[in-house]
């Protein structure tokens, strides 16, 4: 009886108080999210970051015979070997996954990090992709693509582990790739066993420097230092929805196919 007497009051309080609490929490989150300037926080690269859509990349070292063969078979839409859209073999033209490291080297339309227990998540605005970077000390898998029931499948975005090299530098190593994806829009290859290192150095609160190096003896005669690029703290800490939509991409390709035929 007493319980039912209190019930309307509890409901009324909830209806009034919950929105107020939520609004206050949202205001606090927005205040923290839009805070800019100052020193880099220790062991923290969380937040939304922006940079160029297609960062400038270094030329690769000489490729192996296999690397050259795979590279020669690609017909990119971009770069010095660009072909018309009707002739390209670029997987992205039909919205196939970019994979890693292309997701860091092309169409980098903003990304975010979130540190959570046992792992750091990287969220990519373009295509709404996420990467799991394990920080619980586990090793990288060594049986990707191997025979046997315990083998791991190759992945477009590979398997990633991360650790702090110092209080401001987070190092991610990734391997175990699906070889359908390209290194970047120019059509450079990477093998399943490539080890790719990302070094994220928090320069200050508003700047995050990324260096990418590919160690892939099957495809390159030396480690390939691909790029160093600084990203800036996004003034709006929220994603847009930027998608590659297969039906629209196909219509685009078919519509403009005649423009790229013959000479």
């Amino acid at each position: 009886m007493k319980t039912s007497a209190y019930l309307p009051a509890v409901i009324a309080f909830s209806l009034i108080a919950t929105p107020a609490v939520a609004q206050r929490q949202q205001q606090q989150q927005e205040s923290a999210a839009t805070k800019t300037g100052g020193l880099a926080p220790r062991r923290d690269i969380s937040g939304h970051w922006l940079g160029p859509v297609s960062p400038r990349k270094e030329p690769p070292p000489p490729m192996t015979a296999l690397g050259q063969q795979v590279f020669d078979a690609t017909k990119p839409l971009q770069g010095p070997r660009a072909v018309p859209i009707a002739q390209t073999t670029d997987p992205l033209v039909t919205c196939n996954p970019q994979g890693f490291p292309r997701s860091a080297l092309f169409e980098t339309r903003g990304f975010a990090f979130e540190h959570v227990p046992r792992r750091t998540l990287q969220l990519l605005q373009y295509q709404r992709i996420w990467r799991e970077i394990w920080t619980d000390g586990r090793p990288l898998p060594t049986n990707v693509g191997a025979p046997g029931k315990d083998a791991r499948d190759p992945r477009y975005y590979g398997y990633s582990v991360g650790k702090w090299a110092d209080d401001y530098t987070f190092v991610v190593t990734t391997t175990g790739f699906n070889e359908d994806a390209w290194v970047d829009e120019r059509g450079y290859p990477r093998s399943m066993d490539a080890k790719i290192e990302e070094r994220y150095r928090r320069i200050d609160h508003d700047h995050l420097e990324l260096s990418v190096t590919i160690d892939d003896p099957k495809m390159y005669t030396k480690p390939y230092f691909v790029m160093k690029q600084v990203y800036t703290w996004a003034p709006v800490q929220e994603f847009e929805e930027q998608l590659c939509i297969p039906s629209e991409a196909l219509e685009y390709r078919e519509t403009f196919r005649p423009a790229g035929t013959g000479k």
Partner: protein, 133 residues
């Protein structure tokens, strides 16, 4: 007022950083960038404001008075917004003048560069980026 200015600046910054260069899905090699074709009094038959690039279909009279259909690619919505476009900047039925890089192979395709509307309003796509490239 100050808040509005700051908000506008933030929006412009975000669009600029996330939109450029806006040519990601296509290849420029199909178009002759040294040529500029002007299509006068072109009637927009359809215009798709979409990713990865917009598609504008136009009917234009040639020198003999015959109606010729042209198809132009434009930027993605985000890259066009960087240049001041909105979804309704041009719509089907509008009569406009268009500058475009024509297809190298002589087909009636092109990459849109500039639109001049009947009221004199000028809209461009990517001219800023191309000048600096």
């Amino acid at each position: 007022m100050t808040t509005r200015i700051v908000a506008f600046a933030i929006v412009i910054t975000v669009v600029t950083l996330t939109a450029a260069p806006g040519f990601a899905h296509h290849s420029d090699v199909a178009y002759d960038q040294a040529k500029r074709t002007t299509l006068k009094d072109a009637k927009i038959i359809s215009y798709a404001w979409r990713n990865p690039h917009g598609i504008m279909v136009l009917d234009v009279k040639d020198e003999t008075g015959e109606v010729v259909r042209w198809t132009l690619e434009t930027g993605s919505p985000s890259s066009l917004m960087t240049d001041g476009w909105t979804k309704n900047s041009v719509v089907a039925g509008d009569v406009i003048t268009v500058d475009a890089n024509p297809a190298r192979n002589g087909t009636k395709f092109g990459r849109l560069l500039r639109v001049t509307k009947a009221d004199g309003t000028v809209l461009t796509w990517g001219e800023r980026n191309r000048v600096t490239q």
